[in-house]
């Protein structure tokens, strides 16, 4: 089965000592991590093959596309829809600045959807060219691992071809999961949500993670009625509690109906739409029900168990600090390893993999102080520790500096929405352990702050930086008064 194919221009093994392989590296999955690892490995001189499923906006076991989740079903299309949705409230605000607009503003979902698809197709093409330009051989089809140095690609017509590779890299990412409740087939995941034929008038979102709050914001901004259900008291588990409360307040302020501590129990198709039942006995009707209840690694059909690659309970590939699995020739990066499921982290892991394996420079990705953003409206962005984490981890007392303010734009628009910022500081070392912000431009603002945190900047260094006036960001360098001091080892009360 694992017949070796000769590739054009293939070099013979010059010293004849090592086993001959078709490729130095074969990558399964051409998303952010896989493409980065392939390109960089090729730049180090490795001969690289990569396989990816055929393109489609909605993924499954057999469809995907070069570019992966980020480009086709994640960051990029999501951000495009967030831009589209943000215009809704923005345009409302324009009136106070003197602009005369129609009472009702018209929004054409199909036009945006069409332009979004155009854009991701363009990016998909760019990614393919990037691979071609760096000399990476792209195969379309489903990849499987059949031995420590053998992969098999099932092509579109069903034929299977085997390739040998000195190293195999698993970069197959992850996929949205559905909640197993009656009528679950009526619900959609984020994949479909990015490609709906019609804009829903009534949307129900289940989930508390970033995907849930982002889609709730998108649909609300476009004018839909949105009901957001989640199991806990607050959305965005894992984030700083105070920030979670701020996000919840803002979502509500923007007109999203929040249903904390609530689960969905059943979905029923009716003539009027989908009837949604909750565990509180409520019923409501929806045009669309989105399950944003988590994502799982795409490892099921890779045949990993057969070659002895260890997986964890949820199916993530277990790797060491260098992204190597327990089978030394097999490596894994990105969401498939479920470390920190972010595009730039997959890029880092992919780049460091190439450096380690082909650059002669073993490099561990560093997963500390990685900034991230939630593109709800207004967005949240964080880097470093939450107040709760800091209280747990710091040796000494933790100083918390916060600022709540009405953004200048709101002074004219009258929008009642505060921006909230926070720095968490170790009182012994003066190091800034965490920074967070919820408000317009937070993700853009946080990037520079992230460098400072990554390099161990102190509060004194923040204070010695002069502000840029008038900006929201300047608040981060003008936080003078401690909002609270938390004694070492004493977490503040839970929200």
């Amino acid at each position: 089965m694992a017949r070796k194919m000769l590739i054009d221009g293939e070099k013979g093994n010059p010293n004849g000592e090592e086993a001959h392989y078709d490729f130095d590296l074969f990558v399964i999955g051409a998303g952010s991590g896989g493409v980065r690892a392939s390109r960089f490995s090729a730049q180090y001189g490795a001969k690289v093959g990569i396989c990816e499923l055929p393109f489609h906006p909605v993924s499954s076991e057999v469809i995907g596309g070069v570019g992966g989740t980020c480009v086709i079903r994640g960051c990029v299309p999501k951000k495009i829809l967030v831009y589209g949705a943000s215009f809704g409230p923005e345009l409302q605000d324009a009136r106070s600045f003197g602009w005369e607009l129609n009472e009702r503003l018209d929004f054409d979902w199909k036009k945006l959807l069409h332009k979004k698809t155009e854009e991701i197709l363009r990016l998909n093409g760019i990614y393919k060219r990037l691979l071609a330009n760096s000399g990476v051989k792209l195969f379309e089809g489903e990849g499987k691992v059949v031995g420590p140095n053998e992969v098999e690609v099932t092509q579109l017509d069903g034929t299977k071809i085997g390739y040998s590779a000195k190293h195999i890299l698993i970069a197959t990412g992850s996929r949205a999961q559905r909640l197993p409740i009656p009528g679950q087939e009526l619900a959609i995941t984020s994949d479909e949500a990015l490609s709906l034929e019609e804009l829903p008038k009534r949307a129900v979102v289940l989930g508390a993670g970033y995907i849930a709050v982002e889609f709730a914001s998108i649909w609300r901004g476009m004018g839909a009625t949105v009901d957001l259900f989640y199991r806990k008291e607050l959305p965005l588990r894992g984030f700083d509690d105070e920030m979670r409360a701020v996000v919840a307040r803002n979502l509500e302020g923007r007109g999203i109906n929040l249903h904390p501590n609530t689960n969905l129990t059943e979905l029923v198709r009716t003539e009027d739409g989908i009837k949604v039942r909750t565990d509180h006995g409520e019923e409501l009707m929806a045009d669309v029900v989105l399950f944003a209840t988590g994502r799982a690694p795409n490892t099921k059909r890779l045949n990993l168990e057969a070659v002895g690659v260890e997986l964890d309970k949820i199916g993530a590939v277990k790797v060491d600090e260098y992204s190597q699995t327990n089978v030394p020739s097999i490596w894994a990066i990105g969401d498939a390893t479920n470390r920190m499921n972010l595009t730039p982290v997959a890029l880092m892991e992919g780049g460091y993999f190439a450096k380690t394996v082909f650059g002669g420079e073993p490099t561990k990705p560093d997963h500390t102080n990685i900034p991230s953003a939630v593109f709800c409206i207004p967005p949240l962005s964080v880097v470093g520790l939450s107040e709760e984490q800091a209280t747990e981890q710091a040796n000494g007392d933790v100083l918390v500096f916060t600022s709540t303010f009405n953004p200048m734009k709101n002074t004219i628009s009258g929008r009642q929405e505060k921006t909230f910022m926070k720095l968490v500081v170790d009182s012994e070392t003066d190091k800034v352990l965490g920074a967070s912000m919820c408000g317009p431009d937070a993700p853009e603002i946080m990037q520079g702050i992230a460098i400072a945190l990554k390099c161990g900047a102190t509060k004194a260094q923040f204070d010695s930086t002069v502000g840029i006036h008038p900006s929201a960001a300047e608040e981060f360098v003008t936080l003078r008064s401690v909002t609270r001091r938390i004694a070492a080892g004493k977490p503040k009360t839970n929200l």
Binding site: F97, S381, Q447, S471, S481
Partner: protein
């Protein structure tokens, strides 16, 4: 929040008052628990503090608290501040927090400043940063309307702008802010005196005939726009007037290439005024990084502003129909409803009595001060635009805060002018910190330059020709990031965090080790892998980077 005076962002006055109250109390008590031990340490560790601070400061908090070795003269105030703008209010409040008795005088409120009008809050709040930014917000909408078309939004009729609504809302906000500032002073225990302050002697200030004695006098009277004296200059307006016109200009000539000129050009262009900008040089924004100057000029032109380069205004002529013509060395352009001069600002040092007490001024009328903001008269100090150091609100705040510390917290503090970031709210805006490429080459010789010039995600959908440009200048020897520049949407917000990094002396390697936030524009600053050029004092090697740039996102 309330502690950062330069950033008035609260909506309801009641809430503001509440917060101000709460915060000034907390900062006051914090001040005490933090500063008092330092005060003691300072004395015990250094028996002769004069050795540490070059000028000799008498740091007794109150005149009456002097220890008796020298007879204390009684003054009405420990500090009398002339001018309640950003710097003056900051210095006064902080001084009061340190326990000093403080008075500040300011002219009565008016949107347009003169020898007899001003207002608590000063240029920043009443005639600068704040109203300017509010108008930038308003004018940016026309671009957003265009963008939104690409995202599926439609307008039955083209949105029209009503100038009066905007100006009324803006003025209501300014009234609110000047009220907040007054409250802030009051809550800090600073006595506010309305009137024109004039120095009588090194320890006496005259306000409209009434004399006040003070141990220290602070001059923080700021600057004012300056219109050159050419025929017809009486028809011209300055930025004060431009922020408060009774009606929107139909066609405006803006003379000048500085940040005020490009900001107002963007404002009026966004509000659908026909805008012509006349600049003396080939490019706008002298002093900024050359590549940024080129880029912003190009982007501004694409939005429909017409530039007239290397043109010097010679006269303004008024025709019988009331329209104005601007005559320059190259010709005459007719049909302007307004001609605005943004040709510079000068320090407000006239009629302050400075010459009589011997306070030295520079050639352009700015007050000369030492590193601690002290003038040639030991009891007289000056901060902010009146000293013409770096004329930015946050710098005046820094100088004011440092002065309060120096005088009343026994902690002589020099303002630190390294890596002061700044922004230009042109459309698109600019943010920058550190050195320009030209400065860096002069100072360090060998530098590596990284740039990114890209079409933001929003523009790929909107179809508009908007781009963003980013630039890092790195010291080849130490790897330190010497300068960081950006022109593009959100640049001022983006640059603030990077300013912390640049100020802290971080290296390019530190930038590279930071993970990006995806998808943002800002992440480009941490994903610049290959220099576009390595400038060496002997030779300069160039390298095309377009392909690498295209790949940066992957």
């Amino acid at each position: 929040m309330a502690t950062s005076l330069g950033t008035p962002k609260l909506s309801s006055p009641a809430l503001q008052t509440l917060c101000t109250y709460k915060f000034s109390i907390s900062s006051f008590s914090l001040t005490h628990c933090n500063k008092l031990p330092i005060f003691r340490n300072f004395n015990s560790l250094s028996p002769n503090p004069r050795r540490i601070c070059s000028p000799s400061f008498n740091t007794a908090v109150r005149a009456e608290s002097a220890n008796g070795s020298e007879p204390a003269r009684h003054y009405d105030f420990d500090l009398f501040t002339i001018g309640a703008g950003s710097g003056g209010v900051r210095a006064s409040r902080f001084a009061a927090n340190f326990g000093a008795s403080v008075a500040v005088c300011e002219l009565p409120f008016a949107t347009i400043s003169s020898d007899s009008t001003g207002g608590v809050g000063g240029t920043c709040v009443l005639r600068g940063c704040v109203p300017k930014k509010l108008l930038v917000y308003a004018s940016k909408y026309s671009h957003e309307f265009e963008e939104s078309l690409g995202f599926g939004w439609n307008y039955e009729a083209e949105p029209k702008h009503d100038w009066n609504t905007l100006i009324a809302n803006k003025n209501a906000e300014l009234q609110r802010l000047t009220g907040i500032y007054k409250n802030t002073l009051k809550n800090a225990g600073v006595k506010l005196i309305e009137g024109r302050g004039k120095i009588v002697d090194p320890h006496t200030v005259d306000v409209d005939g009434k004399h006040y004695s003070a141990k220290n006098i602070l001059i923080s009277v700021g600057g004012r726009p300056f219109i050159p004296n050419i025929p017809g200059s009486e028809y011209a307006i300055d930025s004060d007037a431009a922020l408060d016109l009774p009606s929107k200009p139909k066609k405006i000539a803006i003379v000048g290439g500085g940040y005020i000129a490009v900001e107002f050009a963007g404002i009026f262009n966004g509000l659908k005024t026909e805008v012509h900008v006349f600049i003396r040089q080939k490019k706008v924004l002298r002093g900024f990084d050359e590549e940024i100057r080129d880029f912003v000029g190009e982007q501004i032109s694409l939005r429909g502003i017409e530039f007239h380069t290397e043109e010097l205004p010679q006269a303004i002529l008024k025709s019988s129909d009331g329209s104005l013509s601007l005559k320059t060395n190259k010709g005459t352009v007719d049909g302007f409803s307004h001609v605005m001069f943004a040709t510079g600002r000068g320090p407000n040092t006239k009629n302050l009595g400075l010459e009589t007490v011997g306070v030295k001024l520079s050639k352009n009328g700015a007050i000369e001060v030492d590193e601690f903001s002290r003038t040639s008269v030991p009891s007289i100090w000056a901060v902010g635009d009146v000293t013409d150091r770096i004329n930015l609100t946050p710098v005046a705040l820094m100088e004011g805060g440092a002065l309060a510390k120096t005088l009343f917290a026994n902690e002589p503090t020099k303002p630190d002018y390294r890596a002061v970031p700044s922004a230009v709210f042109s459309q698109p805006p600019i943010g920058q910190v550190g050195l320009t490429e030209e400065q860096a080459i002069n100072e360090y010789g060998n530098v590596d330059v990284y740039t990114a010039n890209f079409r933001p995600l929003k523009a790929t959908l909107s179809g508009l020709p908007d781009r963003a440009f980013m630039k890092l200048i790195v010291c080849a020897k130490t790897d330190k990031v010497l300068g960081l520049h950006m022109c593009g949407e959100d640049a001022p917000e983006i640059v603030q965090g990077f300013a912390v990094a640049v100020k802290a002396g971080l290296t390019k390697a530190d930038f590279d080790s930071t993970v990006g936030i995806h998808p943002t524009a800002a992440e480009e600053f941490v994903t610049m892998r290959t220099p576009v050029r390595k400038v060496r004092s002997t030779t300069s090697e160039g390298k095309a980077d377009s392909e690498i740039k295209a790949a940066a996102g992957v």
